[in-house]
Amino acid sequence: MTKNINITLKVWRQKGPNVKGGFETYHATNISTDMSFLEMVDVVNEQLTLDGKDPIAFDHDCREGICGMCGAVINGRSHGPEKGTTLCQLHMRHFSNGDTIVIEPWRAKAFPIVKDLVVDRSAFDQIILAGGYISVNTGGAPDANSIPIAQEIAELAMDAAACIGCGACVAACPNASAMLFTGAKISQLALLPQGKPEAANRALAMVNKMDELCFGNCSNERECEAECPKEISISNIARLNREFVKAGLVSVVK
């Protein structure tokens, strides 16, 4: 049932990357429980604008859980309390009248704050460009059905490929590790026959890049898997490790 609730927000405000930030308190009244979380922030921002104040900066685009643009830590949880849900897909019906909600940006050395809740995630692009692709040029591909791929393999690859690159895994990890994100891409491509020729180089290059970009190590806390809005499995990290070890062996042989 739709109802209206009143809530208190404590929101991280920070003007720029090198400026000190802090929490500000706002009251959001008459919030319909049918609203999405971001629509609730829209309402607060409309009021801030009318009051002549600076609205809260936050990233968002598709608002349907697929672009990976949105994200914030809500009461200590990446993307909020609902399992398998991005912030834009979270609805206010999961909150109660009188609640206080603390909203913070992703916090990780590799993701510097741009403004308020907006962070710079370009490190993820850097990891992909280190090797997250199959080297084929447009034009030379054989007929699509010339390489049969077992359905289970295709499905496993698709499970890994579902990652939206939001960064919640990094924010949730006590070490700010990017292993789930990187593992998902390495797995997708290592599972498929098309990706095998480059598998070794890819694993080495992406893992090295990840370290270089100041992401932390994985110490098996599993927070990433718990908070990932696309429920990317931690088994992808195991596969990354196997690929990495295999790659090490191959490069020794060379």
């Binding site: 720029g16 319909s32 049918d34 609203m35 999405s36 971001l38 629509e39 829209d42 409309e46 604008t49 009318l50 002549g52 600076d54 609205p55 900066a57 968002h60 685009d61 598709c62 608002r63 349907e64 859980g65 697929i66 672009c67 990976g68 643009m69 897909q89 609805h91 995630r121 370009s122 692009d125 992909i128 460009l129 280190a130 997250g132 692709y133 199959i134 080297s135 084929v136 040029n137 447009t138 034009g139 591909a141 054989p142 699509a144 059905n145 390489i147 791929i149 077992a150 359905q151 295709a154 499905e155 690859a157 698709m158 490929a161 579902a162 690159g165 997708q188 491509l189 498929l192 098309q194």
Partner: protein
């Protein structure tokens, strides 16, 4: 001025081959010397930037989002068409061509559409090679489904995330070229003007969305792949940043805008539930393969759906279109939903919703089968509405979704401005007055992977271009214009938020220029838009400064452009005295209330030239010549 589409001569099936042979080639050693700007990183922009870089051109690629991987294309759910005929069910290049031409209500160019069908197969080959995990059969070969009313199964898909997977494929090829130093990425940049020198597009001016700095970039050619303008309706299924600004600025610099009134209203979206609503969510069209659309027979019947007996339900699509039933094309399904609601038969509190019921499908196939097919969609629906579609019918209503209109381009995908290419949803070219499901992804990738790599070479090898840099006065002028406009926006200091004004614009268009239109309403809309535009420049409130990350300013600039563009949309709708595809003028309908085309007088592309802020735009007509198909009244009975 005569619009020349530059369609190659010869038989339809041989035009593209012949043209590719006739196009001049750029010497491989010279490609390195050419700079190409690609604006947009969606399926069209991402694929173009990657393919051009692979050929050796040096590419600068721009997007609004923080990463190229987040372009709006990522949201496409249903799938991508190709004429592979892997299912042996009678598909062919010719059939895909014919379905697309007919689906577009015979308002697209034969030659373009045929080429699209031809290269559709190469797209699937390339995407599989990139590692895109398309759905597969047990035997390991690719799976297909029938989609959007097609009577053959030609749609390839990756669960409900086809757009995401195709885009990540293009993104990975793009990143490979960034790593190779062939592409420089400029994310969080918004193109605010295009620079034309001696009639040739030679660069762009962008705002760095983080620092607010205005930057100039020069090139040998500019490729716009900036997506569609469905957000002119405020509420739409498009991503929040989707805009008309890039194409509209090009229009103001002399590029013709074609068929702006062809907008697509998608029949199956989650209905509006409150004024705070910021966007609408699409429920994939594939749901109509198994869901049955109905409303209560008695207007105003407020009983819950499961208390309405079979005999008092009106399955209006099945009734009216016995051969296509629930699978009629989008424009037909949307108009019929509206007609039912206008008769007072709409459901939910608002009365603007119809049911999409899976009860019979679940009874027939079992819950498991339905879950396998639509599980993720049902889950998404439940997340948003808190209602369980396994137990209760879904409620759906049409929403603004896609635009067929866009910048005019010739067969080479070049606009009337030399060196300005336009691709993907941003151009007008392949879908006529109505787009069929799963064909936008196909078009974006066809343009980027398989058309532009050839046609841009022909242009670069065949034209003289003086050496220029960003010191050229035209860049200074554009920078000045952009800076002034930003200053103006920030100094309005009014009392209404930009979103509030945008919402009102959406209401005007939805009411008078939405699913059905009439002359009186269009005239009224034009006046209301002019008044609202005036209100915007007097009374909008744009906080913050220009030298900062300022999302309010970004939105204000986009809405200011929508307010101008909306008038062009309405003018075009008024001028087209017929009904076709997404454009339905009530004065032109058959006895059965279907769209009635006027092939004698309106079988043309309407291309508009900007003449000044206080002047009406000028209309140019490109006649559409059909040599290979016979124009028929679309019938889905």
């Amino acid at each position: 001025m005569q619009l020349d589409a530059k369609i190659p001569s010869g038989p339809l099936a041989e035009k593209w081959d012949k043209h590719r042979f006739e196009l001049k080639l750029v010497n491989p050693a010279n490609k390195r010397k050419y700079n190409i700007i690609v604006v947009g990183t969606g399926l069209a922009g991402g694929s173009a930037a990657a393919s051009l870089a692979e050929l050796g051109y040096y590419v600068k690629n721009f997007c609004i989002q923080d990463s190229p991987r987040r372009a709006h294309s990522i949201a496409a759910q249903g799938g991508i068409n190709a004429a592979k005929n892997y299912q042996n069910d009678g598909d062919s290049i010719w059939r895909l061509f014919y379905d697309t031409i007919k689906g577009g209500d015979f308002r697209a160019r034969e030659a373009n559409v045929y080429r699209l069908a031809q290269v559709s197969n190469n797209i699937i080959d390339h995407c599989v090679a990139q590692g895109i995990p398309f759905a597969r059969e047990y035997g390991g070969l690719l799976a297909n489904r029938s989609f959007g009313g097609a009577q053959v199964s030609r749609t390839f898909y990756a669960r409900g995330q086809t757009g995401q997977q195709l885009l990540l494929g293009a993104y990975s090829s793009l990143m490979r070229q960034v790593a190779a130093g062939q592409v420089t990425m400029f994310p969080r940049r918004e193109m605010l003007d295009i620079v034309v020198i001696n009639g040739q597009a030679r660069g762009i001016v962008v705002r760095n969305l983080i620092t607010g700095e205005i930057e100039s970039h020069a090139a040998d050619a500019v490729v716009l792949c900036t997506g569609g303008y469905a957000n002119v309706f405020y509420l739409s299924t498009n991503a929040m940043a989707s805009n008309v600004s890039a194409t509209f600025r090009a229009y103001k610099k002399g590029a013709f805008f074609a068929n702006p009134c062809y907008t697509q209203i998608h029949p199956t979206c989650i209905p509006v539930h409150g004024t705070y609503q910021s966007k609408l969510t699409l429920m994939s069209e594939s749901l109509r393969n198994d869901g049955r659309v109905w409303v209560p027979k008695i207007p105003g019947d407020k009983r819950p759906p499961n208390q309405i007996p079979e005999s008092e339900r009106d399955y209006y699509l099945e009734e009216k279109y016995p051969s296509f039933g629930n699978l009629v094309p989008r424009d037909v399904a949307s108009r019929n939903a509206k007609a039912q609601c206008d008769m007072g038969k709409g459901v939910e509190e608002t009365g603007f919703a119809v049911y999409l019921d899976f009860a019979d499908a679940i009874k027939r196939d079992g819950k498991e089968v339905i879950e396998q097919k639509y599980g993720n969609l049902f889950q998404m629906y439940e997340k948003i509405t808190a209602s369980n579609p396994y137990e209760e019918p879904m409620v759906i209503f049409p929403a603004s979704h896609y635009v067929m209109g866009g910048l005019w381009v010739d067969y080479n995908l070049m606009s009337n401005l030399d060196g300005l290419f336009v691709m993907g949803e941003a151009n007008f070219s392949d879908h006529g007055a109505n787009r069929l499901g799963a064909s936008a992804l196909m078009q974006g990738l066809a343009d980027g992977y398989f058309v532009i790599p050839y046609t841009i070479g022909g242009y670069l090898a065949g034209t003289d271009r003086p050496e220029i840099t960003t010191d050229h006065p035209a860049f200074k002028e554009a920078t000045h214009y952009v800076t002034e406009r930003t200053r103006k926006l920030l100094s309005i200091n009014g009392k209404r938020t930009v979103d509030d004004i945008h919402r009102q614009l959406g209401q005007i268009l939805w009411e008078y220029c939405g699913m059905s239109r009439n002359d009186e309403g269009l005239l009224k809309a034009r006046k209301l838009i002019q008044e609202l535009r005036e209100e915007f420049w007097k009374n909008a409130m744009v906080p913050g400064s220009s030298e900062d990350f300022n999302q309010s300013l970004e939105r204000a600039g986009r809405v200011a452009d929508f307010l101008e563009f909306a008038e062009l949309l309405v003018i075009d709708a008024f001028e087209r005295k017929e009904s076709c595809g997404g454009h339905f003028n009530e004065a032109y309908q058959t006895e059965e209330h279907e769209a009635r085309r006027d092939d004698e007088n309106f079988c043309h592309v309407a291309a508009w030239e900007y003449k000044g802020d206080d002047k009406d735009p000028e209309l140019y007509k490109e006649s559409l010549v059909f040599e290979n198909v016979t124009l028929t009244q679309r019938s889905y009975k």
